[in-house]
């Protein structure tokens, strides 16, 4: 919960509702909204206007082909083969584009420069995938987010790497300078069973597990999750990700997928 009376982003909310903020301002608002019900309620009032404007355009129907594209009803062999099981809908765009190529597998801390180089290299790979343009666009945006986040002054980074046969699960947690928020990126986490989710844990020095985020992954094990922080990272001795019921757990109850012990401050 935000400190009472501390709403530094309140005046940014109208522009936020109109998507008219610069990226840094938007990050600031997102971080505050994650912990402030009062500002969330105020944002809802401004969104009333944005939604009214969004519904004030001349009604135009999209084509029937779009429906087929979106709902995956096209008869292409690819669409059929992506159907996981009867009744389990998969979109037509599920083939994922290439992923971030991560650096040294055992490295616990990656430099900002290193991450930026990884993102640039990945963008070059993405440019070669011309049949997945829509998907690439989203992923590029996420990589820009990651590069932007990594370039923030004072950001600290925790990397986790699984063991065993490839593909090994990996995760990167980038914590902003004032330790109010972090960006979690995962790769190659195993597909989630039904009714399950991954949960990110921050382990306090007395051994208490604090659930920091509940998330799912796509078919490649990729996730891109904004995490709300309540304490400085120095207050934690470890970070882990475990498999939990889809509603989350108060403490780890399932298999630990990734984990790392943090060095003492």
């Amino acid at each position: 919960m935000a400190e009472e009376g501390a709403h530094p982003i309140e005046e940014l909310l109208p522009a936020y509702a109109l998507n008219a903020l610069e990226p840094a301002e938007r990050e600031q608002v997102d971080a505050h909204l994650a912990e402030c019900e009062q500002c969330s309620a105020l944002l809802a009032e401004h969104l009333d206007v944005t939604v009214a404007m969004a519904q004030a355009h001349e009604p135009v129907a999209p084509s029937a082909a779009l429906r087929a594209r979106v709902l995956g009803l096209s008869e292409s062999p690819g669409a059929a083969s992506r159907q996981e099981s009867p009744g389990r809908w998969r979109p037509t765009w599920t083939g994922r584009a290439p992923r971030l190529m991560w650096g040294a597998a055992a490295a616990l801390v990656l430099s900002v420069a290193g991450l930026t180089a990884v993102v640039v290299a990945q963008q070059q790979r993405i440019e070669r995938v011309d049949d997945q343009a829509d998907q690439v666009q989203v992923q590029l945006q996420e990589q820009r987010d990651a590069a932007y986040w990594a370039a923030l002054p004072g950001v600290s980074t925790v990397a986790m790497q699984g063991t065993g046969d490839p593909p090994r699960p990996r995760a990167l947690l980038m914590v902003n300078a004032d330790h109010t928020a972090a960006l979690l990126i995962t790769l190659d986490l195993p597909p989630l069973p039904r009714r399950k989710a991954y949960q990110l844990w921050l382990v306090e020095r007395d051994g208490t597990f604090v659930g920091a985020a509940l998330f799912s992954v796509d078919m490649t094990g990729y996730a891109h999750v904004l995490v709300r922080m309540t304490e400085e990272m120095s207050e934690y001795e470890a970070v882990s990700i475990s498999l939990e019921p889809e509603v989350g757990s108060p403490a780890p109850s399932g298999t630990e997928i990734l984990g790392v012990t943090l060095s003492s401050p």
Binding site: P14, L43, A52, A54, H57, V60
Partner: protein, 192 residues
């Protein structure tokens, strides 16, 4: 199709769990408003369809990030949809800026329409109570709101392109949104 907020919460939870029938229901309810907005702003049918597809793709991928305690699904989803449309506008501008053959006038097209862009844009693409409410706004507030909503300009870009100090733009945008909400509420009351 109008669903109650509680029914929408349940529907979105089903989408998050990968339920095809739920996705179909959301598409039936929202494809037309999302597409109409995308087409109204982008004025390109094919691109509007591509953007609409991406919006629903994002819903599929991120439905589990919707928090019902923070407001109605319609707010969350149409705000995301508008954000994606604005991203497309900005991508176009970046492309134009990368093209060295473009003249400065062409590069800034979309932010600097002739005469009064707010007047022309409102009359061309926004209708009903919203159009009426926008027309009642002070012109400088209307211009700021319309440049942001329809042309994808950030507050800083509005300041740069209008020559108005950034602080003034922020004030105009904020007051414009507050006044618009009041005007829309008055118009709804008159209608009842």
């Amino acid at each position: 199709m109008d669903l109650s907020p509680s029914a929408e919460v349940e529907l979105v939870a089903r989408v998050a769990s990968g339920d095809a029938a739920a996705m179909d229901e959301v598409y039936n309810a929202y494809s037309k408003p999302v597409f109409s907005m995308a087409y109204g702003i982008l004025r390109d049918y094919a691109t509007a369809e591509d953007v609409t597809q991406e919006v629903f793709k994002n819903l599929w991928q991120r439905a589990n990030t919707y928090d019902p305690t923070r407001g109605p699904f319609k707010h969350w989803f149409l705000h995301l949809a508008h954000n994606r449309v604005i991203d497309e506008l900005r991508r176009r501008r970046r492309e134009a800026q990368r093209d060295a053959r473009k003249s400065l006038d062409e590069i800034t097209q979309g932010l600097e329409a002739p005469d009064d862009p707010a007047e022309e844009a409102v009359q061309a693409v926004l209708f009903g109570k919203v159009e009426k409410a926008l027309q009642k706004l002070p012109p400088e507030q209307r211009k700021a709101v319309v440049m942001a909503y329809l042309q994808g300009a950030t507050q800083r870009e509005i300041a740069d392109h209008t020559g108005v100090p950034l602080g003034t733009v922020k004030t105009r945008l904020r007051l414009g949104m507050i006044k618009l909400r009041q005007l829309l509420a008055e118009l709804r009351r008159e209608e009842v």
